[in-house]
């Protein structure tokens, strides 16, 4: 046992730890621990009151046991008791225990918070420090509730000790991260900014972290920090290495603070010219120092110096406005690419990736291509090779795509398994993006499948099919190439899939050559059939039926195959079903029908490449940006026009499918498991993203059967937004392009009211659309609660930045309607969709609607859009069925003048009975049939649920066809409710 060196030797604890260390087996350890737990438990329960020291010792033992990985279910109370001890170390152990083993036990939380409160009020800096550390370590919402108001006061109070200020700053930061809504902004913020000028560098360091985080969310409030941070930084980087005394680390002045200040500046765009000049000087000084001979040989010196350098380069890249600095940064990183320190090579590769996306430095980065390729071949550490792959991907453009793709393909042959899939994705994307000659693209993808077939995900082979189908200039070549590739005795199953699909579509283009006649094609595919998995076989069966249409001369051969027992009686129900149905189809259908049903696939509407989406998902969206996209050149020339027409499951092939799904297919499937659910059901199932209909087309249309992660749940992008969306032509006008102040809320977009009214009787659809942005809604309500999913779709190919949707409720509305939501990611990638969930509670009846304000930056301009969010009182309706007698009895009960509201109005839409019924049901009330003596009238009943009450509502709508008028009567127990419901419903007819 080592000598316990300092402070409080708890010898009992040391003995116990020794015992544990001496245990020869896990069992012995557990036995020893159980013995100790029993001992401690009896001490805690014993009659003899324990003194502080013993309590501390036992609590410390429990903590040790817990940290060994064992569960601890008692001792919390004793730890809490220690918090109120006057002895520092007892208190300290108590706090440590609480910090490590937080328990959400509400009773304890109250006691803990009480003890913390006392310590914060004690004015004893050591005790205050302990309490603040505990809050920062636990950081729970309960603690934020209790202390988020108090800590800013401690932080800015004139008489607070420096060390306490430091703890208070970081404590507040932690609470802000957990519960930003509970940290009130206020007068204190400007005083916090001035801590950047504090004498004490420790205070400045802690405050900078806090300010950086706060500034991200409240840039306006903290913008004065920019010039203060630049001054501070300037003083640090120009100071002599001894000026800052203990804040100099291995001859580098205040490296941690420097990094933090540089990080803070990355929250803002380049500052005004005056400040900017000083900042540029600082950055130049940092770059110059990198070239100076080292002041020490210690790695700590070089690390600290380079930490500042890399952060400075990050800032230079972030500003992306000083070509001179960008090129210098690139040259500096170029030196590091060949440095003997692996760490620096790694970081240089990583940092260059971001430089590659700046138009100023893209070319400079490209000059290092040979070094990077060499790194790919020679680096011994896979994490470094990974960075090299990333950088090659980032520096790729039309000029070097062939070389880079070739290098990546050759690296793939020996690449580490852990990064193969990612390389495959990257190669597939680059090959598509920079393909001028599509034969090169087809060759590349087939090579990918050959070299790394197992790592070629569905997205990749779906994509090659999508592209081949969309480009008729490459179809013949693709057919010929897959045919040749399939000649290999052992080819990857993915190749069979691609081959089967492409020959099924375009086999006719090579059938003229006797070496690839229809029968030879068929035999070649069928020779692979038995080696393949069920999904591939299912796909091949579909190829065969396509062949029946393409090549009547092999029809009999194929029918024989379909008729064989191994197909017709296949144990797999999918295969059996296909065989039965295809055989039947080939027998009964006329040539015309065959030709229609089995016609060549129509082009796929273009949207974001599903591969790119996959890579983004794998790597996080930030890593996949590139220069080309920034320049908005995005593969417009590859597929389809420059406008990325949205498309998803529902939009594809409906025309063709509807014809057969409705008629012949359903009949055909009479003697097989059900498939094809009829047009409506089919569409509905696709719309909801659930492809559960057992359609044979499922596997033949691979691209639609796996919606990419970004595919819209609602099919918003797909269905023509006719009933919901405003005319797209008015799009540009809806955006307030003049205002450039992020704080001002735009006036409601024109058409917002109309759109709002459309949502009164429905919950899903497109709320707003212009040329840039589409907002879709999907909501559900139950009793007084609701949840709304807001989908923001970026219709452009450029990122939206600082994307900030805000829900605005008037004070009045706020008390009656509670809305809760979380902020969304401030960046929305081109073509991407982000979702925001709003939890809704109706507290009491309300009249107004919340406003949804969306602000973002697009291509350098500020965009500001406001729309009314359709959360209306009727959403909290629960329909009530009742008989005629009951209805009229209640109707009479609600006959006082305040309870009834009536409106007579002209019909705005054709007076169609069915539509009217649907609207009343959509409104939320029950539609009561056979209640009104006049069958032309409509009668409804329901209950509005709020948190506080339930309000029964009856309604009656009397149409007058001749006059094209309606009379609507609402009776409820509350006048305001009657009036609101009447107003809402009147707008619907």
């Amino acid at each position: 046992m080592p000598a316990v060196s300092k402070g409080d030797g708890m010898r009992g604890l040391a003995v116990f730890i020794s015992d544990i260390r001496n245990c020869k087996s896990k069992e012995a350890e557990i036995k020893r621990i159980n013995k100790e737990l029993a001992n401690i438990r009896s001490k805690f329960k014993g009659d003899k009151a324990l003194d502080g020291y013993s309590k501390k010792k036992y609590v410390c033992k429990l903590l040790f046991i817990f940290l060994l990985g064992h569960d601890i279910d008692f001792g919390h109370m004793e730890a809490v008791n220690l918090l109120s001890s006057n002895r520092y170390t007892e208190k300290q152990i108590g706090y440590l225990f609480i910090s490590v083993l937080v328990n959400s036990n509400s009773e304890l939380i109250r006691l803990i918070n009480n003890a913390i409160k006392n310590d914060l009020a004690s004015r004893n800096p050591t005790f205050m420090g302990l309490a603040l550390h505990c809050i920062a370590n636990v950081g729970s919402r309960e603690m934020a509730e209790a202390f988020a108001g108090e800590i800013p006061k401690i932080l800015v109070a004139g008489d607070t000790m420096d060390s306490v200020k430091q703890s208070a700053a970081l404590c507040l930061l932690r609470l802000y991260r957990t519960s930003p809504d509970l940290v009130p902004m206020g007068d204190w913020t400007s005083r916090v900014v001035h801590l950047l000028n504090d004498q004490h560098l420790g205070v400045v360091t802690a405050a900078t972290s806090l300010i950086t985080t706060l500034a991200q969310k409240n840039p306006e409030e903290f913008k004065t920090s920019v010039s203060l941070a630049v001054s501070r930084l300037s003083r640090i980087v120009t100071s002599a290495s001894t000026d800052l005394q203990d804040y100099t680390y291995y001859f580098v002045p205040a490296p941690w603070l420097s990094v933090k200040l540089l990080r803070l500046l990355q929250c803002y765009p380049p500052p005004d010219p005056a400040v900017r000049g000083r900042l540029t000087e600082c950055l130049e000084t940092v770059l110059n120092k990198a070239q100076e001979p080292p002041k020490s040989k210690k790695v700590q010196h070089s690390n600290a110096k380079n930490a500042v350098l890399f952060e400075a380069i990050s800032l230079i890249i972030h500003h992306d406005s000083e070509p001179n600095l960008l090129v210098r940064a690139c040259n500096q990183l170029g030196q590091f690419l060949q440095h003997r320190e692996t760490n620096l090579r790694y970081l240089a590769l990583e940092s260059m990736c971001t430089l590659a996306s700046s138009e100023f430095s893209h070319e400079a980065v490209k000059t290092h291509i040979e070094t990077v390729i060499n790194a790919l071949k020679t680096e011994r550490d896979v994490s470094v090779r990974q960075r090299a792959v990333d950088l090659l991907y980032a520096m790729c453009d039309r000029s070097n795509a062939q070389q880079i793709v070739a290098e990546m393909l050759s690296y793939l042959e020996t690449a580490d398994y852990s990064i193969r899939e990612e390389i495959v994705l990257k190669v597939a994307i680059l090959a598509e993006k920079y393909a001028v000659d599509y034969t090169w693209y087809v060759d590349t993808i087939l090579n990918l499948i050959r070299i790394a077939g197992d790592y070629v995900s569905e997205e990749v082979w779906y994509r090659v099919i999508q592209i081949v189908i969309n480009r008729d200039d490459v179809q013949g070549y693709a057919a010929k190439t897959v045919f040749e590739a399939l000649q290999a005795p052992a080819c990857h199953e993915n190749l069979v899939k691609v081959g089967g699909y492409i020959l099924g579509e375009f086999g006719n283009l090579i059938a003229g050559d006797p070496r690839s006649s229809p029968l030879i094609q068929f035999n070649l595919l069928h020779s692979k059939f038995h080696l393949c998995s069920v999904p591939t076989r299912a796909l091949l069966l579909s190829t065969y039926i396509k062949f029946v249409n393409l090549f009547p001369e092999v029809k009999a051969t194929i029918q024989d195959v379909l008729r064989s027992d191994s197909q017709l009686r296949n144990a797999d129900v999918e295969l059996q079903q296909r065989a039965v149905e295809y055989l039947r189809l080939s027998t009964v259908a006329s040539t015309d029908i065959l030709a229609t049903v089995l016609e060549e696939m129509p082009p796929f509407p273009e949207r974001e490449s599903s591969i790119l989406a996959k890579l983004k998902k794998k790597k996080g969206p930030n890593t996949v940006t590139d220069l080309e996209e920034a320049k908005r050149e995005r593969s417009a020339d590859v597929n389809g026009g420059p406008e990325p027409a949205p498309a998803s499951a529902a939009g594809l092939h409906t025309g063709r499918l509807r014809a057969c799904a409705g008629r012949s297919w359903t009949r055909l499937s009479a003697h097989s498991p059900p498939f094809g659910r009829g047009t409506l059901a089919w569409e509905a199932s696709v719309l909801s993203g659930l492809l559960c209909g057992r359609s044979v087309f499922r596997t033949f249309f691979p691209v639609q059967s796996t919606p990419s992660p970004s595919a819209d749940l609602l099919g918003l992008g797909a269905t023509p937004p006719a009933p919901a969306g405003p005319p797209p032509s008015s799009g540009g006008l809806l955006v307030d392009v003049f205002s450039d102040s992020p704080s001002a809320v735009a006036p409601l977009a024109p058409g917002s009211e109309d759109n709002f009214a459309r949502f009164v009787c429905k919950n899903n659809g497109v709320l707003f659309e212009n040329q840039l942005l589409q907002i879709g809604l999907k909501s559900e309500f139950r009793q007084n609660l609701g949840r709304m999913f807001i989908f923001y779709g970026n219709k452009t190919s450029t990122q939206f930045l600082s994307f900030t949707p805000t829900l605005i409720c008037s004070d009045d509305l706020q008390t009656n309607l509670s809305l809760q939501t979380k902020p969304v990611d401030p960046t929305v990638d081109g073509g991407a969709q982000v979702q925001q969930v709003v939890n809704i509670e109706c507290v009491s009846d309300f009249t107004e609607a919340p406003v949804l304000n969306i602000q973002f930056r697009y291509g350098g301009t500020f965009q500001n859009v406001s729309v009314k969010l359709p959360i209306t009182l009727n959403k909290f309706f629960q329909p009530t069925e009742m008989a005629s007698q009951d209805f009229f009895q209640r109707w009479k009960q609600l006959s006082s003048p305040q309870q009834e509201v009536q409106n007579i109005f002209k019909a705005k839409h054709p007076m169609d009975t069915e539509i009217t019924k649907a609207k009343i049901i959509g409104f939320g009330s029950a539609l009561l049939e056979d209640v009104d003596p006049n069958p032309a009238n409509f009668v409804g009943a329901g209950i509005i649920h709020t948190r506080t009450t339930q309000i029964g509502c009856l309604l009656r709508l009397e149409p007058n066809l001749q006059a094209q008028m309606y009379r609507l009567t609402l009776r409820t127990s509350k006048e305001a409710v009657s009036r609101r419901l009447c107003a809402l419903l009147s707008e619907q007819f």
Partner: protein, 169 residues
């Protein structure tokens, strides 16, 4: 026009782990809320990943959506998880400064010091890093705070019997 630069989110250290070459966890500090189960899973995975790496490999690796920065000192691995935008090199020096603090406090620190005085290791860490951010980089100031606490302790402590000390009463 070109896109405006987007603010780079500030990020903090997510957690710090100290473990031995045998894979025994010696200190764990979590700066993000996670369940015990998740913590154990992360620890297991990371210890395995880091121990499998050869010497001279670089000190950084991507792991899940985090970056791991680690360094070995004698028999102990110090391992920090930071976010994507964080500065790897400065994190490496956070580790080094912490080692220096331990070293100065214990006087040539070894793994056993950290085992037997684990609570001190936590206290020193809290003075240095709070909520995943550097609180005080001055070695002098951190140690002053800890030593003051030790002084408070010695004044308050009363001697106790040997039997009591070894937990036999």
């Amino acid at each position: 026009g070109r896109a405006q630069p987007r603010p780079r989110p500030a990020a903090a250290m997510q957690f710090m782990l100290l473990f031995s070459r045998q894979g025994k966890l010696r200190l764990q500090k979590w700066y993000v809320p996670l369940s015990d189960k998740e913590k154990k899973k992360i620890t297991r995975e990371l210890v395995q990943t880091v121990l499998a790496r050869k010497p001279k490999m670089c000190s950084f690796l991507e792991w899940r959506d985090l970056k791991i920065v680690y360094k070995r000192y004698a028999s102990l691995y110090f391992c920090c998880a930071i976010e994507d935008q964080d500065n790897e090199l400065i994190t490496l020096e956070i580790i080094h400064r912490y080692v220096e603090l331990l070293d100065k406090y214990f006087g040539s620190v070894c793994e056993l010091d950290i085992i037997f005085n684990f609570e001190k290791a936590y206290f020193i860490l809290d003075e240095f890093l709070l909520g995943g951010e550097v609180q005080e980089t001055s070695k002098k100031n951190v140690l002053k705070a800890i030593e003051q606490a030790d002084l408070l302790q010695e004044e308050a402590e009363t001697p106790r019997s040997v039997l009591e000390e070894i937990g036999l009463t």
